[in-house]
């Protein structure tokens, strides 16, 4: 790897976030390099979601700094737009637009944000539907697709905007067990292609296979961040050990 690959594409510096009196994030420091795959785990309510939602400004951090590809995320619309262009996101509940077919879900932002011509947008969208192995579902509405198919469309929708970083917020938690692997397979392919990814998941098998580093969060803090093997074999804190015992 050359030097530019080593530069962090995402930097969080002392990020804090409050919901009223409740402090959801306590001085979060995190750096993610280009091409790095980070899995975030921890008990529910530990701030995992809030942390990654701050990265594309779905939540506003109260203090600290967030940089995406060298640009600081401020309340300026220009910065927010620029960051969102670089960052794709996949949600637990898919959040596909229900009134649009699968391919139109992909084409909407291509046309409106990227200003791609319709015919070209259709071509790009089709290519990404093929990439998640469901080109034949292109003209179906989300309500006609299974959960696993919907989530793959959602992944394709984020990918076709050509983001530098992909955020996954528990992408398989809302799925029936038999559909989890089809989504994880797509994510594993993506990781193998070198996409920078931050993934919140409880799928520890996936984490072991794919992640470079694992972040363990509890009570709004990063308790531990380690390379994957070390994390599983040699966790430092008691809380991490307890969590791993419960989940493995």
């Amino acid at each position: 790897m050359n030097e530019s690959d080593q530069k962090p594409i995402i930097i969080l510096e002392d990020v804090c976030k409050f919901f009223g009196d409740f402090q959801a994030l306590r001085n979060i420091n995190l750096q993610v390099k280009k091409g790095e795959r980070v899995v975030v785990c921890g008990p529910s309510g530990s701030g995992k979601s809030t942390m990654i939602r701050c990265i594309n400004r779905l939540e506003e951090h109260d203090s600290g700094k967030i940089f995406v590809d060298g640009r600081e995320l401020t309340s300026a619309v220009k910065d927010i737009d620029a960051v969102r262009r670089e960052v794709g996101m996949v949600f637990q509940s898919f959040n596909l637009f229900p009134h649009l077919t699968a391919i139109n879900n992909l084409m909407l932002a291509l046309k409106l944000v990227r200003k791609t011509k319709k015919s070209e947008a259709r071509e790009i969208a089709m290519r990404f539907l093929e990439r998640v192995h469901i080109p034949e579902q292109a003209d179906k509405y989300p309500s006609q697709l299974s959960g696993g198919q919907q989530q793959r469309v959602a992944i394709a929708r984020a990918l076709c905007m050509n983001p530098e970083v992909m955020l996954f917020d528990e992408p398989t938690s809302a799925l029936d067990p038999e559909m989890i692997s089809e989504v994880l397979d797509v994510m594993t392919d993506l990781a193998n292609e070198g996409m920078t990814m931050i993934v919140i998941t409880h799928e520890m098998g996936f984490a072991r296979n794919v992640a470079d580093n694992i972040v363990f969060m509890d009570c709004g803090q990063i308790v531990e961040m380690k390379p994957t093997d070390e994390f599983f074999e040699n966790p430092e804190s008691e809380r991490t050990k307890l969590f791993l015992e419960q989940i493995l």
């Binding site: 949600f91 596909l96 909407l108 509405y141």
Partner: protein, 232 residues
């Protein structure tokens, strides 16, 4: 008292003379009311107090007073002000038709904005977030994501309001307009048969309502096709 069923059928064609005026009042004021309702909604959800505050007063006033009172205030009340008589609106407000349209529009705008607001509140928050994450601007999210879904959610309540508007147009007869009810009253004055004549009027209103219900039903079906399919 006698009841002449033939008089009902005889009077129906005559009464149809008023149907044009009824439909004119209904469609024009509903159309203007829809535009007004959208503007009021945008002001209300703008998050700026100086835009949203007036909408509360407006909606409160027009939902809280009878349409008949509103028509009287506009028709009998406004011309007393010289400023109104001197204004560019006078050619409209001088005519009973203009007054009726104004009253019905203002009334419909208040209800429609509330109906649409219900639709907007019903749109899943996750879809806003998905739109944001994709980089869609606020206007783009509003037009391409929220509105199509909100409109579908609002159709049943809107069709209800539209049918209420049909019936409200009859109040225009109180300020001399010869819409259906106005025509019916004229016929009653000639025949002294209020029972038959008003039943005939009721029949025509029912037929119109049936068509409106059907129209909205088809529209709702079309707007909901992405949901219907999943049930099939």
């Amino acid at each position: 008292m006698t009841f002449d069923i033939y008089l009902i059928f005889d009077s129906i064609p005559k009464m149809l003379a008023g149907i044009g005026m009824t439909l004119h009042l209904l469609f024009l004021s509903s159309f203007l009311g829809l535009i007004l309702g959208i503007i009021i909604l945008l002001m209300r959800i703008s998050g700026r107090w100086y835009l949203s505050f007036p909408t509360f007063a407006y909606i409160y006033f027009f939902r809280g007073t009878p349409i008949l009172v509103q028509i009287f205030v506009i028709y009998h009340g406004l011309p007393q002000f010289e400023a109104i008589r001197d204004s560019v609106f006078w050619p409209i407000l001088r005519e009973p038709f203009g007054c009726a349209i104004l009253a019905l529009t203002l009334n419909s705008g208040a209800y429609v904005s509330e109906i649409l607001r219900g639709g907007y509140l019903g749109v899943d928050k996750g879809l806003h977030e998905a739109g944001k994450a994709l980089g869609l601007s606020t206007p783009h999210r509003f037009i391409y994501v929220t509105t199509p879904i909100a409109v579908r959610l609002a159709i049943p309540a809107y069709s209800n309001d539209f049918i209420s508007m049909l019936k409200a147009t009859s109040l225009a007869s109180t300020i001399t307009l010869l819409e259906m009810t106005g025509v019916a009253r004229t016929i009653v004055a000639q025949t002294f048969a209020p029972y038959e004549i008003f039943i005939a009027a009721a029949i025509i209103y029912l037929v119109m309502t049936w068509f409106l219900q059907r129209g909205f039903g088809l529209f709702e079906k079309r707007m909901s096709r992405y949901i219907k399919l999943s049930e099939a």
